[in-house]
Symmetry: C2
Subunit: 490 residues, 2 copies
């Protein structure tokens, strides 16, 4: 076994970086800011994709695919959009390499310069709305409910595996509607889908809310978000759903003939989650021994480790375990029966702990004699000798329990680390301790920016369920109608 | 109904282009050579992906993800590889846009020039082998069996939807092995997987073979391929599997410690199929009325069109059809029950014909009285009044029949259009008629190039099952040991 992970309490940041590498989730590539998602990490992402894709289809969306490249002029058509993305664009300027006639090796062919530069998509609103223009003539063509799974590039200067990378994988939904109301309902519906996924699959509780104008998506009228708390008390934005109003319709002249036979601009939404969710998943649950994965997203839900000496003992165990493996699989449980003989059981235990396998079953000769098997839970690290009879049901039930327990633990942690704060003094002390702060804010960008500058805390969201409450802004003392959530964030 | 498609006999090329657009499969985007894959087209691609992905996993491969960008220097490390791809590379040179201080709008920021240019991956051997270097130390780390689903870019000058586009979607498998034999077996296994997919899912018969040196992948020792015949008699390369020897291992210095404790270069393979398969699927089966889809890849396998006047008749039909829909779905059949009232049944029939839905059921009041339902097959255009009783089984059996019938039809067509040719005169006449020519070839690149220049025909492959046969080259008259397949190709 290689040396242990740094502990979370010692160095949370190092713990995360090391865990991502050691658990074979991802690593940095030779290209600045671009990651390699390793097979084990990718298999978790695939489970996320499948679950989300099913939810998108249940809500009547279909997938499509739009170009990787965006003409520079397109990006410029929506003023705040280009403002938001121009600073971090990968730009394609040429389409050919050639051998340097002066012996400088392979160089860019200066004669193969593009007439108009192409931007590697940082997000696809512009290229999609330019396409929608041809697809939409009348209200009968609406709504258009389309999603794409794609890679996007934002040239980030400070990158971190999964959390902030120059290239990342995501899905982006882009819908078009005939009324403002319908577009807003779509925006809210997709926020619900994301919250449902975060809580029921990732086991990560989230706060649903609205972003302030400062934090809004470049080109949106309103940005809805889900915010999660990590184990260091910092916030992580886990998904966003944007009501675009008619902004992109106007930028790309997308109109429809309404039922009253009049031309009207189309209403739009866009919404996305990315491989950033991998970072959230890791940071929300894992511990100093490694990953802790919710069963619904674990590539291997159960590992069975036989404890044996020699072929005969192994065969003996196999004859008992093979039917169990089969039965578990028939119930949709993914099982690995690790019969390899080149590592000790102890080494294997540590390895599967590192990889976050929710349940480990261990069985040796003694167990067979006694009719028992050992069940170990990754989340609580509890071990229990169980009757072999009925172990399949025990496993299925325990997986369910773990899924709930992990969620509950994260929820309790968030509750413990969320504080109502009413004075600026208290705010400054509390923010250093980490966690979410629920406080009054006067609604101005100036105050928001001041607070950020002084404390590095941002307004994560105005919660959708925030109660009306008369109060005064924690910083300016001006009147406020409800509390918002402040935190330092990833 | 919009005007009918151009016919295949009149203008095969126009027929294809129009069909791709009218059936909502894909369209050109504003970016030269980049396509938009529309929802209906993408839903077929998704079915292809799912089937292939399952087959990859059954053969022990896992998915991962590698960067979109490749440092220019990487591409140059394998001599023939850069030779093959340098002429068609999209090159990223800058990472920021800014507002032109001289009022020229948004421009590329000259200060944000990359130290080393990045190439948008045309294929990922270089970036993957540079990563494998860190993953492989000893024979215990081998084999590495990895696949990725990704977009790639090759700057093609003459593009055609699905068949040849600047950006396309594909999967690329990249495996690493400890012996030459094992790598060759992997290459051959994946060719089998592709052939199996083409024949059993796409219903497209393929010839498995080996490419000549001229047509080999840039960087491979041997390229295996599957070749299909389209309805105009031209060939389409539908998938390739490359034995890379130790070429990329040597270029990126990837060695392993073998069981004899000696350092050795790793053996590699790569293999891929792309959205080009969509083109093959369309061109192999479709007719002048529209798409013909094999049931296994049809997003909608059965459409049910009620023929009714008014709510009461529709409800009457619904009460009979709803349980049928449910039963079909429970058997894994995808069904659309089109109860919309804004188009005539005739219009709907034509629309679903265009979209290639394999089975159409139509039911009206008269049918209900008689206990019948009309079943129409898209492939044969035959219609039959069937007893309503037992219709579910009839549908399931007919889907199976259609899958086989489409394959058999394509196979018969290929057989009819494959000719053994023994003289150069005959060759020149036959090649103008289209189809595959099975002829002797002297094994030299010179002859191959001469034939290509004179007739536009290329050697599609040396079939794996080609019998040894003493003969003389159809062009040079020199001795030859077996026949190869010549054709004009997409």
């Amino acid at each position: 076994m290689s040396k242990s992970l740094p502990s979370r309490s010692e160095n949370y940041s190092e713990w995360y970086n090391e865990l991502v590498k050691r658990a074979d989730l991802a690593e940095n590539s030779a290209v600045r800011g671009c990651m390699v998602i390793k097979p084990y990490g990718f298999s978790i992402w695939e489970k996320m994709q499948r679950a989300l894709d099913d939810m998108f289809k249940e809500t009547s969306h279909t997938n499509a695919y739009f170009p990787l490249f965006i003409p520079k002029s397109y990006l410029s058509k929506e003023a705040s959009h280009v403002e938001g993305f121009a600073k971090e664009c990968a730009v394609v300027t040429h389409y050919r390499l050639k051998n340097d006639p002066n012996g400088g090796g392979v160089i860019v062919d200066p004669e193969a310069k593009l007439e108009e530069e192409l931007i590697v998509r940082p997000t696809s609103e512009t290229v999609i709305w330019s396409t929608y223009k041809n697809w939409i003539q009348s209200y009968r063509d609406l709504p258009l409910l389309i999603n794409q799974w794609a890679n996007v590039v934002r040239w980030e200067m400070r990158t971190r595996l999964f959390l902030r990378t120059a290239e990342f994988l995501w899905q982006e939904g882009h819908t078009a509607h005939s009324s403002k109301q319908e577009a807003i309902e779509e925006t809210e519906q997709m926020l619900e889908v994301y919250a449902n996924f975060a809580e029921n699959f990732m086991a990560v509780p989230v706060i649903k809310g609205i972003k302030t104008a400062n934090e809004r998506f470049a080109g949106a009228e309103e940005t809805y978000c889900i915010e999660a708390m990590m184990q260091d008390g910092k916030a992580l934005q886990a998904g966003t759903s944007h009501f675009l109003g008619q902004n992109f319709a106007k930028a790309f002249d997308v109109k429809f003939l309404n039922k009253e036979n009049q031309q009207e601009f189309v209403w739009g939404t866009s919404w996305g989650v990315s491989t950033r969710l991998m970072g959230a998943l890791i940071m929300a649950h894992s511990d100093d021994q490694g990953l802790v994965l919710p069963p619904k997203l674990a590539p291997i839900q159960v590992v069975i480790v036989p404890i044996f000496k020699g072929e005969e003992q192994l065969n003996n165990i196999k004859s008992k375990i093979d039917p169990i493996v089969k039965e578990l699989r028939s119930k949709g449980v993914s099982v690995k029966f690790d019969t390899t003989d080149n590592q000790s059981p102890g080494f294997k235990f540590a390895e599967y702990e590192l990889k976050g396998v929710p349940i480990r079953l261990a069985i040796g000769n003694r167990d067979i004699e006694n009719g028992t098997i050992e069940l170990a839970r990754r989340d609580t690290k509890s071990k229990q000798s169980m009757p072999f009879e009925g172990i399949v049901d025990s496993v299925v039930n325990t997986l369910d329990e773990i899924q709930h327990a992990i969620y509950q633990k994260a929820l309790d942690f968030r509750t413990e680390n969320t504080h109502q704060v009413n004075t600026w003094e208290e705010f400054q002390i509390q923010i250093e301790k980490g966690g979410f702060i629920s406080a009054h804010w006067d609604g101005t960008s100036e105050t928001e920016e001041q607070i950020k500058e002084l404390t590095k805390a941002t307004i994560r969201c105005i919660p959708l369920d925030a109660k009306e409450e008369v109060g005064t802004c924690v910083y300016s003392g001006k009147p406020s109608g409800r509390r918002v959530i402040f935190a330092r964030a990833y």
